[in-house]
Structure formats: structure tokens, C-alpha cells
């Protein structure tokens, strides 16, 4: 076998393996979604058990704002991905940082929403109506995903622009953006679920 065909072969193999790794991210999202499906069906089973259970309050407005923010961050994520594909690494970095910042803003707003709920006397602990405690569990589990997403975003940043391997960069961006869009959609699912049950 010639050296040329060998390198080409390994190049192809590498792409194959990247495809398989990207697929693992999809699978991870499936399992993560199942986790939330478990929680939300737990909510349904629990709430249906007794008429006194349920959210029994109007959800804080903060959730509307945070939903807008996370939707916006999906847009900046996509812009980062497009920039990376066009090999514009500087603007890729800028959009990634912007996305991460929006993620942090989202996190802060979610915390403030908890504060609003807490001030209404809807506490996480010691609450005989655990349907209300579920709100905290949904948000906290989702925030854990946001933190993971921010870590992925920071990992996708490129500091030595001269040394960027475009193929691996695009792969990393793709994985990051798939995940980020997923947690965006995940929050919308959770929020709509809560709205339908309030």
C-alpha cells in the first residue's frame, strides 16, 4: 500500500470516527430527554394523585424573559457555527463568548425566578404540595445542562488561530451547537409543560 493511499485511508477513517462521536451526542440527548420525561411523568402521576396538588400559582414573568434569552442564544450559537464553517475564527470566538454570556444571563434569571416563587411562599423544602417542589427540580436539572453547555462553548473557543484544524473545529462546533439547541428546546418543553399545568 502506498503512503498516499494510507494517509487518505486514515483521513477517511478519522471522519468516520468523528461521525460516530457526533452520533454519541445525539444519543446522550436522547437519554437526557428521557431523564426529563421521567421527571415530568413523575409530576403527572404525583399531581393526579390528589386534587389539592398542582402548581396552584401563576409562573413568574422571569421565565418569559429567560425563554427569550435562551432562544436568542440559539441564534448566536448558530452564527458562531456559520462563522466557523467559513473559517472566520475571530467572529466564531466572539459569537461563542456571546452565547456563553447569554447562558449566564439565563442562569441568573432562573435564580431570580426561584426568588420570586420563594417570596410567594412556594418553597422547595417542607412543601406538602410536591408539585411545586417539582418546578425547582425541573429548573435545577436544566441549569445543570446549561452549565455543561457553557463548558462545551468555552472548549470550542480557539486561541491559537494559526493552528486551527478546520475539520476538528467544525466537528467541535457542530457538537456544541447541537447540544446548545437541545437545551434551548428542552427549556421550552419544560416551560410549556409547566404553563399547561399551572
Amino acid at each position: 500500500m502506498t503512503a498516499y493511499s494510507m494517509t487518505q485511508n486514515s483521513f477517511e477513517k478519522d471522519r468516520d470516527s468523528l461521525k460516530a462521536k457526533k452520533f454519541m451526542m445525539w444519543l446522550f440527548m436522547v437519554s437526557s430527554f428521557i431523564y426529563f420525561a421521567g421527571l415530568t411523568s413523575g409530576f403527572i402521576v404525583y399531581t393526579a394523585g390528589d386534587p389539592s396538588r398542582g402548581i396552584n400559582t401563576i409562573l413568574p414573568d422571569s421565565f418569559n424573559y429567560s425563554t427569550a434569552i435562551i432562544a436568542l442564544s440559539s441564534l448566536t450559537m448558530h452564527l458562531a457555527y456559520m462563522a466557523g464553517k467559513k473559517l472566520q475564527f475571530k467572529s466564531q470566538n466572539a459569537y461563542l463568548v456571546l452565547t456563553a454570556l447569554l447562558g449566564i444571563v439565563f442562569l441568573v434569571i432562573q435564580f431570580r425566578a426561584w426568588g420570586v416563587l420563594f417570596n410567594r411562599g412556594i418553597t422547595f423544602t417542607g412543601n406538602p404540595n410536591a408539585s411545586q417542589s417539582f418546578i425547582y427540580v425541573f429548573v435545577a436539572s436544566h441549569l445543570l445542562h446549561i452549565v455543561m453547555g457553557i463548558i462545551l462553548l468555552l472548549q470550542a473557543l480557539k486561541f491559537r488561530l494559526a493552528k486551527v484544524d478546520p475539520m476538528r473545529n467544525t466537528f467541535r462546533l457542530e457538537v456544541t451547537s447541537i447540544f446548545w439547541h437541545f437545551i434551548d428546546i428542552l427549556w421550552i418543553y419544560l416551560y410549556v409543560f409547566l404553563l399547561l399545568n399551572q
Binding site: S17, A20, K21, F23, M24, V30, G38, R53, F124, N127
Partner: protein, 630 residues
Amino acid sequence: MASTAIQHTLEHSGHSHDDHGHHHETFLTKYVFSQDHKMIAKQFLITGIIMAVIGMLLSILFRIQLGWPDQSFPLLETFLGKWAEGGRIKPDFYLALVTIHGTIMVFFVLTAGLSGTFSNLLIPLQLGARDMASPFVNMLSFWFFFTACVIMMASFFVESGPASAGWTIYPPLSALPQAISGSAAGMTLWLVSMVLFIASSLMGALNYISTVLNMRTKGMDMWKMPLTIWAFFLTAILGVLSFPVLVSGVVLLIFDRSFGTSFYLSEIVVQGQILPQQGGSPILFQHLFWFLGHPEVYIVIMPALGITSEVIATNSRKPIFGYHAMVYSLIGISVLSFIVWGHHMFVTGMNPFLGGVFMITTLIIAVPSAVKTFNYLATMWRGNIRFTPAMLFAIGLVSFFISGGLTGIFLGNAALDIPLHDTYFVVAHFHLVMGSAAICGMLCGVYHWFPKMFGRMMDDKLGYLHFWFTFIGAYLVFFPMHFMGLDGVPRRYYAFTEFEFMKEWLTVNTFVSWAAIIAAVGQIAFLWNFFYSIFYGKKTTQNPWGSNTMEWTTPIEHLHGNWPGEIPTVYRWPYDYSKPGHSEDFIPQTTPFSQTMSSNLPHDFEGNPEAERIQIEWQKKQQAEGEQGV
């Protein structure tokens, strides 16, 4: 050059390209933090075997208590200290023993030890891949598992003892640290260990699925995959879809335990104290637990079924009977396993109509299970059977699967389950159908693929000895339990001395304990055989069992990337055993049809007209030559 290419392939994404060319392997990267799927498989296997021995010893401890409840064994006090004061195991510790025995056996041995070993070993080797989709995540998977094992064992060294709420850890017992001593620190460690374990098995499952779907070699379409791979693949899917639900259940449990929420707790009085938690529902936990818990038993048995399919076909020298039916029955079991969890909850005050639905779905599972059983029998029927130790264990699995499966039909009926619930009948049922059957499948795999893993053979005679001790021992242990259960003897009871109606079962318990001890002693034959053969066993040949699958085309000496040159192409399904017209009784998957003209059949070409034309021309030519000869 070849090694460069292979290494490049194996490299984990995002890591540097710095060390091109040479392969520097230190002890640490080769044996400890290995990213090679074959080494990770061995790590899973040996950890699994160690955990299995621990789980077995725990069971012997509680069998001693059940067999001789009034007798004192001073030796126990020497080893267990305050857990066996006066040489008798304490009730608290008895509960811890059954809990940890169950946890270890179900999760650490039959989930991680079985799937972890054989999925890791066989998926890349039988599909023709250089390694897993992500070798790095694969390594993490093992180390999470190992850490989980260490934490679970560490719970024996905390003052309040290991978790004792049973392997199903139902709240409120598991949710209130003050409930019993086993609900304190031991329960916390149990939960931490299980979270790590779930993370490990998810990482493994993601890898298995992605590798099966993306990294098959040329020619290996899904319908040419060996049944082992189908089983591992579907098992991994079950894991991805069910384990996260257990996580959500456990997360809520952790909040109840440590943060004062009341998801599962309501109106509880402990030691005269009214607890503040109100409005929770313990049944909610059971739903979340069994939504994982039932698929989990198929996670345990399906890899064993896959391994058995392969071993039975190879050693009967016959194609597996009903390959497609085998695959569809695995798919059927996988789908059905998600809609039967309620049969664990018939006595929770479930609406009888809902119970009826769960009953019907449960009984339907008997259909794919029976399809598999009959296919095994039909494969062996009039086969040229070679009774290797692996084959004996495969037959053992079929036997246990039948005898344990039949009682599943009893228990699946709500009307019968209500009196039988939580009796020894249930213990007998699941120990036969998922305990003994799955462990037989695992041992079958160990005997069969030992030459592939270690390059040496295990000793056959010790294997036979091991098989008969295990097979007869398991039946003697678990079969009498059916009758105890029918008499209403409840499981998890510390001693049979306090209730009049249970006293007559004391002698049976002594018998069962003796059987368990003898079967356990028989395992020494295995352990000796296994560890001795790793170092001093007879050197293996390239393809010791005359098998068709691809793993036997790799060199005996392991190398990174599995095949030295290009990965072979696959041309045929894996079960061409004893094909009429061929000179040998097996044709490996990598043999093209052009080399087996004398044995090709019309349906081999899957409607490819060109290949059919060549075959017909060849046959005409042969015929003409034959006539000339006459």
C-alpha cells in the same frame, strides 16, 4: 506506516496530534488507563468476577443464618465483629447482606460485568472496527464503574453499616436516615455508587450504539451481524431509554433524604416523632424505579441470550434456527419490556383495570421468549453437537430460561401474583430466569472467548466440573424455594423460627444452604481455571472453535486497531455452518462466494443477477465436465 494510520484512527477527538508515529505504551496506559476496547473488556470482566465472588460470599453468609438459625459460628464474629456478635448474624446485618447481594449481582455483575465485558470485546471485533466510537469515553465508563464498586464496598466500613432497604430501595425506608441503621450513611453511599454506576453504563451504552450503527466494516449490513451484536445493541438501547428514569427517581429520593422535600414521604411517625413531610407518594418511586427496573432484567438477560445464540450455533455446527425470528424476538422483548413495569406493583392498590393491562403485556412477553427457546432447541436438533464447557453453559442457560420463565407466567397473572407476592416463589423465579440463566450466559461467554481475550485456552475438565457443580447446585438451591413460596413463606425474613407455619421449612433451608455452599465451592474450579489459564493455559490456535465470526480473523497477539492491515470485508451472514457442498463445516464471514462455488445457493445472492449468472454458468460447466468424465 500502518501503525501511524491505526493510531490516527484511534485518537480521541480534540487531543493533540503530537505523538505521531511511535506507540509509547507505559504500564499505566496499557493496563490501567487503557483506551483499547479489548483491555477495557478484560478490566470489566475481572472486576465483574471479583464482585461476583463478593456477592456470592454475602449470599453464603445469609444462607448460613437461614440454614442454621439457632447455631453459633464463632468464626463469623472473628470476621464480622459486631455484625455477628456471639457468632450469629444480626438481623440488621442480614438485611444489609440481602440488599448488597442483590445490588452487586444485578448491577455490578450481570449488567456491567456482562455487557461491559462482551459488548466491549465483541462489538468492534465482530463488526470489523478498529475500536469503539470514543475510546476515551469507554475508558471513563470503566473507571466510573470501578469507583462505583469501591464506594459500594466502602459502605461495609461505615459504622451504621451498608444500605439495608432491599435492592429496590423503596422509600420511606430509604428516604429517612433515622429509619433503620442501614438507612443512614450506608444508604447515602449506595445512592452515590449507583449514580456513578448509571453514568458508567450510559457512557458504555452510547458507545455501543454509536459503534454498531456507524463503524461496521464493508459488507457488514445490519442483517449480517451476529446475534451477539444484535443483543448487545438492543441491550444498550434499553439502557439509554431506561436508566435516566432511575436517575430522576433517585434524584427525587436524594432531595427527600437530604433536603426535606416530600416527593415520596407523607404522614410518617418515627419513634414517636411526627415527621414534617406531608403529601408525598411512595408509589411514585415504585413507578419510576420499575420503569427502569423491568427493562433492567432484560438488560441482564439479553446479552446472555445473544452469547448463547452464537455459542449454540457454533457448537451444534448448524446455522442458527430462525435468525430473523431471533432478531425480531429480541426487538419484541425490548419494546414490550417498557410496558410491563406495573406487574411489580399489583399489590400497591393499583386499579384492577390497569393491572389487567399490565398483566396482558406481561404475558405477551412469553411469546418472543418462547420463540427464542424453541429456536435454540431447533438449532441443536440433530446438530453435530460438541460439548465444550461453553456449550454446556449455553444449554444450561436454555434450561434455566425455560424453568424460570414458566413461573414468570404464574407471577404475571395479577390474581396469582397477589398471594405469591414477596414470597420465596418470586425469589425462585427471578434467581432461575435472570440470575442463573444470565450467569450461565456470562460463563458461557467467558469459556468461549477466553482464547480471544488471553490467547490461551481454559482447561476443559475443570470446566465440566464447574458446569455440573453450578448447574445442579443452582437447581438444588432455587427449586425448593418454589414450594416454600406456594406455602406463603415471605422473602427477606431473618429466621424461620418465630412462625409456626414456617418451622417445617427449616430442614429445607438447611438443605438449600448446603447446596449453596457446595455450589460456591464448585466456583473455585472456575476461579483457578480462569486465573491459572491466563498465565499458563495451553496456547490457542487462530480459530479454536471453527467459528465464522470476524473476531477469529484477528491475530492472537492483540494489537491496537485489531487488524494489522486493512479490515477484512464481510460477504455472508455469520451462520454458514455445515453448508452442503463445502469442504469444511464452516465458512467464515470474510470468505467471498467466489471461493465457495460448490456450496452457493440461489438465495445467497440476494437477487444480484450478475452473481446468479456467474454461479449458473459455473454449475453448467461443472455439469458438463462431470458428463465428460462419465
